[in-house]
């Protein structure tokens, strides 16, 4: 039955219980509304983008007149109509390309028409003349002194004060980490290993493609309906870019059919708003095809990593020197923060006394690099977790033991100089090592197969500006059911359910009484920075808890006064105020709106109860530009371990993952089954990421921009067993100690797989993807 159905059995104190999701009834009946499902009536126009067919070129001429002739076309816009740029941390991206294009598929204009079909037909008639510029497709290439400059005006772009682009180069961010003295440490090392690791761009592949509908009214009110993780951030960025007062721009976002970071910040939504401005009074829908997802949204950045590590005779890590070169794509407005986050976490979850790290994002003429689940952590752990395995092997330590010895522990001083908050990574290592039987050599299922096991650990902090805020409101109805207003988004991870559980517990009402107000709508929903960074359970949770406690306090004050009792003797349980002293009871019903009458009805007290709460971390500091040191780089870290048991078919190179064991320290599992669901989904997503790759030809054109040739894991490919577990070391400022886990669960799966392959074959693969072909051909060479 639907959440809150009157016949459902009420659940008290739901925190820590695996209560049913609040949104599941809608989703299994097909009733859940996603952006493309919203009905706009016959006045809806449709838009299609005109996309560049060159990777790097000046736009010499655009002739839109053939498009305007097509019956049904209402307007055509190009980069000549809007020269403003937009961006998250570095404002480097034109909404429509003006004088030059920087990647194949970059929007240079758009057609608005009465149907999508007509808009597409007309878009193909637009004549564009390009003058090719030399292009670069990899970060190393783009760093060469003679490389073409993708952003000659880099020095003029507005940029956050913690990001450091290098004008005159293709470097959009350079983060430096200097701790101790690596040069003096190398001679003290008993074993040193060096390696270079590479991974290509991959895409999020949310089942729901990006879609936006924008309406620019003649009054100046602008509404954007869109599938986004970031309604408030989109409002902010688009408002600033297009000079719309924030109060005039409304962003409405219903359920999101998968985000994974790809629907964070601003991707194609600004295009829809500019298009709407050309046809004021008519909503305009802009939908990405699946193929456009692979070209014109955002991708995970590619990475070239050079890393060197060394340890003493006992296997204690002494030094790390590492260089990260992220292939950021044509625009790095969000990607710069990924390079930064990779920089201040560059050691991975290890305590290393001497560290020299340089992390750079570099412009390339490829699709825009942006946030994807893990935000730089999967990218860097690919190399880190393999090189750690290599060093463990060299010093003859078991890989789990090496990690137990060297992993970060509570109160360790980590690479930026901050103290590691309380976590238990060793417990996670122990759990997965046992679940997989690490160290126990097991026989493969056939003579032509080889079996291996591998382990990898991870850490990640929410990568945010220092002041990301959350806020919440709780508002009662007459029957004491409760509305919780939040700005956090439901991407599938269960945020709405967590909000309901937190509100119910903090107030003292049954879980089933709580309604989460949807859709998130910046006109009505309280501010939430973004639903990213695995921050929502922690940050939104704190805000909802505060709002519920605010409401609770107001209720108790009224009833304490009404009963003439001490507020400390009162509590709210199962929707009733109770007194531990007098054992009196006062149901919340009606009183939360109408208040309570005084004796003999001589007046009333109370009135409509509205609770408000907010949460914003206040303790994050900037870091020194030269050393990356600072008192508090990040709010906290979530840590975890994964182990993989797999077989390799030596006749085809195909991998069969038999089992993945995962364990994460989540602080407090507010909904244990939802945590396990994230762990399972993440393990499969992580596994898939080891086999995925976007491919381009020598002119930077995409080669596998469809699901036919961009393959993801299917139901038949999944491991036979996924063993998920969690540890609960409370987070100091988490609601009931809770920390996020949504991204962490896929961070280290690819290197765990690589380590298992190495265990099986004695071959180390330093470059993703781990295609069957690559493995087979390497085996042929090896044997």
């Amino acid at each position: 039955m639907p959440h809150g159905d009157i016949s459902s059995t009420p659940t008290s104190e739901p925190v820590g219980k695996s209560v049913r999701r609040v949104d599941v009834y809608e989703k299994v009946t097909g009733a859940a509304i996603f952006t493309d499902d919203i009905q706009f009536g016959p006045g809806l126009y449709h838009g299609r983008l005109i996309r560049s067919t060159h990777a790097h070129a000046h736009i010499v001429r655009i002739d839109v007149s053939p498009a305007l002739e097509v019956p049904g076309v209402k307007a055509v816009v190009t980069g000549r109509d809007v020269s403003t740029r937009i961006g998250m941390y570095l404002i480097d991206r034109p909404i429509f390309a003006g004088e030059r294009v920087r990647y194949f598929g970059e929007p240079i204009g758009a057609v608005i028409a009465t149907s999508e079909e007509i808009a597409e037909k007309a878009a193909r008639l637009v004549e564009v003349e390009y003058d090719d510029l030399p292009a670069v497709f990899g970060p190393m290439e783009a760093l060469q002194p003679d490389a073409p400059l993708l952003h000659p005006d880099l020095g003029e772009y507005r940029v956050a004060n913690f990001i450091f682009p290098q004008p005159g180069t293709n470097v959009s961010e350079h983060f430096k980490l200097r701790k101790g003295d690596v040069e003096s440490a190398w001679p003290k090392c008993a074993a040193i290993v060096e390696g270079t690791f590479y991974l290509p761009q991959i895409q999020h592949v949310p089942l729901e493609p990006h879609v936006s509908v924008a309406l620019w009214e003649k009054s100046g009110q602008v509404t954007l309906w869109t599938s986004t993780q970031s309604p408030h951030a989109q409002r902010d960025l688009i408002a600033q870019s297009l000079d719309i007062p924030h109060g005039n721009l409304r962003v409405v976002s219903p359920y999101v059919g998968g985000g994974f970071g790809g629907k964070a910040g601003v991707t194609m939504e600004a295009c829809a708003v500019v298009m709407a401005r050309a046809v004021k009074g008519h909503p305009v829908k802009l939908r990405m095809t699946r193929e456009e997802e692979f070209v014109g949204t955002t991708m995970r950045q590619s990475l070239v990593a050079h890393t060197k590590i060394g340890c003493d005779t006992e296997g204690n890590l002494l030094a790390m020197e590492t260089e990260y070169y992220f292939g950021g794509g044509a625009y790095n407005d969000y990607g710069v923060n990924i390079a930064r986050a990779a920089g201040y976490s560059c050691t991975g979850p290890y305590s290393i006394p001497n560290v020299k790290g340089d992390s750079r994002s570099v412009y390339t003429n490829l699709p825009i690099g942006g946030p994807m689940r893990g935000f730089g952590m999967p990218e860097i752990h690919w190399g880190i977790e393999q090189i750690m395995d290599q060093l463990a092997e060299k010093i003859e330590l078991d890989p789990a033991e090496f990690r137990r010895r060297n992993c970060v522990k509570t109160d360790d001083t980590i690479l930026t100089g901050m103290k590691m908050p309380a976590i238990d990574l060793v417990a996670c290592i122990d759990k997965v090592a046992e679940a997989i039987g690490l160290g126990e050599k097991e026989a493969p299922s056939a003579p032509h197969k080889r079996r291996g096991k591998g382990i990898a650990i991870m850490w990640k902090a929410p990568a945010m500006p220092p002041n990301p805020g959350s806020s919440a409101v709780v508002r009662f109805n007459e029957d004491a059911t409760l509305n919780v207003e939040i700005g956090a988004q439901e991407l599938g991870q269960g945020s709405f359910t967590i909000a309901a559980q937190v509100a119910a517990e903090a107030l003292g009402v049954p879980y089933e009484w709580v309604r989460v107000v949807t859709p998130v709508d910046t006109k009505y929903s309280p501010y939430e920075w973004q639903t990213v960074a695995s921050r929502i359970t922690w940050a939104m949770g704190n805000a909802v808890k505060a709002a519920a406690e605010d409401a609770r306090r107001q209720i108790l004050e009224i009833v304490a006064d009404h009963w003439d009792e001490d507020i400390d003797d009162l509590d709210i349980k199962d929707g009733q105020v109770i007194s531990y002293k007098s054992e009196r009871e006062q149901p919340l019903k009606n009183m939360v709106i109408y208040g309570l009458p005084n004796e003999n009805f001589e007046g009333w007290k109370g009135g409509p109860i509205i609770g408000r709460g907010k949460f914003m971390p206040t303790y994050v500091t900037n870091l020194d530009f030269e050393t990356g040191q600072g008192p508090r780089a990040v709010v906290h870290y979530t840590v975890g371990a994964q182990a993989v048991d797999l077989e390799v078919d030596t006749e085809t190179g195909q991998i069969e993952v038999l089992k993945i064991a995962s364990a994460y320290d989540v602080g407090k599992a507010i909904n244990p089954d939802l945590v396990l669901a994230q762990i399972e989904g993440g393990a499969v997503h992580g596994m898939s990421s080891a086999f995925e790759a976007l491919r381009f030809d020598e002119a930077g054109r995409p080669l596998n921009r469809s699901l036919v040739d961009y393959r993801i894991v299917t139901s038949v490919d999944v491991p036979k067993e996924i063993h998920g577990d969690f540890v609960e070391t409370p987070l100091e400022d988490g609601p009931w100690g809770a920390r996020g886990v949504g991204e962490h669960v896929m961070v280290q799966t690819a290197p765990a797989i690589a380590n298992a392959i190495n265990n099986a074959l004695g071959i180390r693969f330093t470059d993703l993807p781990l295609s069957a072909e690559k493995i087979f051909l390497a085996l042929e060479k090896h044997d």
Partner: protein
């Protein structure tokens, strides 16, 4: 190099009521009319802009197109519009032409197999067509209906190049005929994709074997390959090795090498030529072992 269309481009859907009418429509509009079967390939090509038909001529419902008839004396006739699922689960095909059922069942997903047809699969002329190797080794003959009536083309003469078949303007495939399989035969279709199942083939190998006193080895094998040449093809040199030498690991290994030599694959986004050649060898070897096991059990 445009991005694909968000939907299908404009065309007229027509549903002729007779083969003659269908043939006439296809002949008259040969440049811009497309016989419309399951659409699982056609729709993708239309969106990608590879084809832009003005007329989609639905032929699925025409007499005989969905029929499957088996006679133990004359063999099997499968209507060209039989879907992959229908072929895969047909009891007579499962019993007597197991290899073909396997091949049909290996296409994409259950949903796609409810639409994809064996005729469409063959007429697209893709070297990757999953039912092509099975059709080659089982001695299939394509029945074509055109302006001059009906004619048959043996499978070996049907595939002319990537995307090119023996179907002429105004013709459509109405059925595929298979002879009665030799007594004691066995077959296997092995397909390698990037996922365990559900993908296009990077390499497809069909092996068909049966006792034949006239062959020095006492057995005849037919080996056909998909996705490793401009057309699906029989690996004749491999077949000769298998006819001449007694079955066993050594013969099979040699035959597998010959099969790999017969393959002329290209490098593309799905796989490299080198890998494909090795996979032809390894899958042929696996297939031969499997079919040999079947032959010994009958």
């Amino acid at each position: 190099m445009h991005m694909p269309n968000p939907g299908l481009t404009e065309f007229d859907y027509v549903k002729p009521t007779s083969l003659a009418e269908a043939s006439r429509l296809l002949a008259e509009h040969s440049d811009e009319a497309c016989p419309f079967m399951g659409g699982t390939d056609a729709f993708v090509r239309i969106r990608d802009g590879f084809i832009s038909p003005q007329t989609m001529v639905d032929v699925k419902h025409l007499p005989g197109m969905r029929d499957i008839l088996y006679d133990e004396r004359t063999g099997l006739m499968i209507g060209a519009a039989a879907t992959m699922n229908v072929v895969a689960r047909h009891p007579e095909i499962q019993d007597h032409y197991t290899l073909l059922a396997e091949a049909a069942n290996s296409v994409a997903s259950y949903q796609v197999r409810n639409r994809a047809t064996i005729g469409g699969n063959l007429c697209n002329g893709s070297p990757a067509a999953d039912t092509a190797p099975a059709t080659l080794v089982l001695g299939g003959r394509m029945v074509l209906y055109g302006p001059d009536g009906e004619r048959e083309v043996p499978a070996e003469a049907f595939f002319l190049g990537p995307g090119k078949t023996a179907v002429q303007a105004g013709e459509l495939m109405t059925a595929i005929r298979f002879p009665v399989p030799p007594a004691g035969s066995g077959g296997k279709y092995l397909k390698l994709g990037r996922n365990k199942i559900g993908d296009l083939s990077i390499v497809g190998v069909a092996i068909f074997g049966f006792p034949d006193g006239a062959a020095p080895s006492g057995y005849r094998f037919r080996v056909a390959l998909a996705s490793v040449a401009p057309v699906p093809l029989r690996a004749l040199a491999a077949e000769d090795v298998l006819a001449a030498n007694s079955p066993g690991e050594e013969t099979f290994t040699l035959a597998a090498e010959k099969a790999a030599e017969a393959a002329t694959p290209i490098d593309d986004v799905r796989a490299s030529a080198a890998y494909r050649k090795s996979m032809v060898r390894n899958l042929t070897l696996r297939g031969l072992r499997d079919v040999w096991g079947q032959l010994q059990n009958t």
